[in-house]
């Protein structure tokens, strides 16, 4: 039966995709496995010192770099995204709204490497001259650049959620005489709670996963940052840097460990989002059933 074969073919393509994901995890685990067999090796990789020529391969500074950069970028981008989402939800005239939305969607298509590139030539010299300290390649500059990069991700996720919610509450709010701004602040934002969380997680994930901005403007020093003007190195740029320079076997273990870390972080975030999404879905269903 041809129908049966087609279904099988479609099924196997879905299976292939899933196998690819499993293979990514499998390879990361396979190549970092030797570390887990050897307590010393593990302690070496999960330490605070990265001095490959002295035999020290700690990736914890990169973890610190990744988290400080991602959190800082999220801290800048998130309020901006909420502001823009509110702006496009009735706080501005329709024509400006359309232009702004178009621009935000356009931002998603700007290559990451170009954000980094322009930042190197505009933001870095600005910081170098203004603060007169170091090279200008630092945590703050990369956080600002990354924030601009993740604003569309957060804002589009927010907007999707708010559009859905708005259908439910808009008429009620208007008939009570709430202005668009009042409706946003007192009804729409409070009732898109889960959407707000999901948008933040998506933005955070995007920031953790980005390589190019960190690699180009963060300075890449494998140390723990103490101020916003210190250079940092993230897990992602660490991988790129180590692969680019031919290193010893031990160094390779450490990048696979870094890759594994990234995989686990992202898998964790994905699970949180799915969990939130599911509960959210149930809540919606309950609302839909007429009682």
């Amino acid at each position: 039966m041809i129908e049966k074969w087609i279904e099988r073919a479609l099924f196997s393509s879905a299976l292939l995709c899933s196998l690819c994901v499993t293979a990514v995890f499998g390879f990361l685990l396979y190549f970092s496995w030797p570390l887990f067999l050897d307590a010393r090796g593990l302690a070496n990789v999960f330490s605070w010192v990265w001095k490959p020529f002295a035999g020290q391969f700690g990736i914890l500074p990169m973890m610190a770099g990744t988290f400080s950069l991602a959190l800082l970028a999220l801290g800048i981008a998130y309020p901006l995204a909420i502001g823009i989402a509110s702006f496009t939800h009735g706080l501005a005239p329709a024509r400006i709204t359309k232009t702004v939305l178009g621009l935000v969607y356009f931002m998603t298509s700007i290559p990451t490497v170009i954000y980094g590139f322009v930042s190197v030539f505009i933001l870095v010299p600005l910081f170098r001259d203004y603060f007169d300290r170091g090279t200008g390649f630092c945590l703050m500059v990369s956080a600002i650049t990354l924030a601009i990069l993740i604003v569309p991700t957060i804002m589009i996720a927010l907007k999707t959620e708010m559009n859905q919610r708005s259908e439910e509450v808009c008429m009620g709010a208007r008939s009570l005489g709430l202005t668009p701004a009042q409706e946003l602040l007192w009804v729409l934002l409070p009732c898109s709670g889960r959407g707000l969380v999901i948008a933040a997680i998506l933005g955070f994930g995007r920031a953790v996963g980005d390589t190019l901005v960190a690699l180009m403007v963060a300075g890449n020093a494998p140390v723990i940052p103490h101020s916003l003007l210190d250079p940092i190195r993230t897990l992602t740029s660490h991988i790129a840097l180590v692969v680019a320079t031919d290193s010893q076997d031990q160094a390779y273990y450490s990048i696979f460990a870094a890759g594994l870390m990234l995989f686990l972080i992202m898998a964790g975030l994905t699970m949180v989002i799915r969990n939130l999404g599911n509960r959210f879905g149930q809540g919606k269903k309950r609302h839909d059933i007429p009682s």
Binding site: E3, S18, C20, Y30, L91, P111, F121, A181, Y252, F263
Partner: protein, 293 residues
């Protein structure tokens, strides 16, 4: 005058919009201002005559032509791998998968779409290491490998786009096939896919944009700064985004800096065009289905 938090929200939203709009406009204008003067014959082909360059008779040394060719081949190869796979997967998820299997598969797709591109690159790199250790001691990073990893990167977008396009077909259209006695697959081929083809196509265009811009994957899987035009899929290659990255860090003179700005502008125009095409398709689509945003 009482304290009005919503007024603050209003002011803040204007502020937020300008804080994002201004940098993006600065970015685009800056690239055009600095990149436009670099637009010249020499930017693309260096000193090589273009006929000789295009048929590959003479290598191009100072131009970005090899990078453009590399990026193009990369896009084509990864599309050939990813588009059928992604569309099939999307069809399966939208029309066939049910219950537990569906939730497993869609979790895998979510996981894949969340993967940082550097992890995809690392996967390709690991694949080569693995092959060297086992059967193929001569395996090396190459255009082929990059294309496969990029395909993996854009796969989730394609799957989701296809799935969403199929699932948002209105009920009355969806029931058309069965009411005529079509089988499930006939309904998909003759009713559902044609009515969602524009949406799927716009997803394809968007994912081509992703394939063109990604740098982290190819950095680990075979791109180099000077490779010329690849002769085979097992060759190393140049690519536009990597050229920009490389020249930013390593430019030795003003000419190379000019080249960097030129490449950045070319890449921005390329991805911008792809975005614009997809945007126009989606705009028409909205009018067609009245789906709303």
């Amino acid at each position: 005058m009482t304290f009005r938090p919503e007024r603050i929200l209003g002011i803040f939203s204007w502020l937020a919009v300008s804080l994002v709009v201004v940098p993006v406009c600065v970015l685009v204008v800056y690239l055009f201002v600095r990149g436009w003067p670099a637009m010249s014959y020499a930017l693309f082909f260096g000193d090589t005559p273009w006929r000789a360059a295009i048929i590959g008779a003479q290598p191009v040394f100072d131009g970005i032509y090899p990078a453009i060719v590399g990026t193009s081949i990369l896009i084509i190869c990864s599309s050939i791998i990813a588009i059928p796979l992604g569309v099939f997967c999307g069809i399966y998820l939208a029309e066939y998968a049910q219950g537990f299997l569906k939730s497993i598969f869609s979790f895998m797709v979510d996981l894949l779409s969340g993967m940082p591109s550097i992890v995809m690159g690392l996967f390709g790199f690991a694949l080569i290491l693995f092959m060297r250790r086992t059967l193929f001691s001569h395996a090396n990073t190459s255009l082929m490998l990059s294309a496969a990893c990029i395909a993996l990167l854009i796969l989730p977008y394609l799957i989701r786009m296809t799935q969403v396009a199929l699932e948002s077909i209105p009920e009355n259209v969806r029931l058309l096939g069965p009411s005529l006695g079509y089988t499930r697959w006939q309904n998909i081929v003759h009713v559902l896919l044609p009515s969602s083809s524009t949406a799927i196509f716009s997803g394809i265009v968007l994912s081509i944009g992703r394939a063109a811009e990604d740098t982290a994957v190819i950095m680990l899987t075979g791109v180099v700064a000077n490779a010329g035009i690849p002769r085979a899929l097992s060759d190393k290659f140049e690519a536009l985004p990597f050229t920009i990255f490389y020249l930013t860090a390593e430019h030795r003179n003003d000419l190379e800096l000019q080249k960097a700005f030129g490449s950045a502008l070319v890449l921005l125009v390329l991805t911008g065009t792809l975005f614009f095409i997809s945007y126009c398709i989606q705009k028409n689509l909205k009018r067609y289905w009245r789906l709303g945003e």
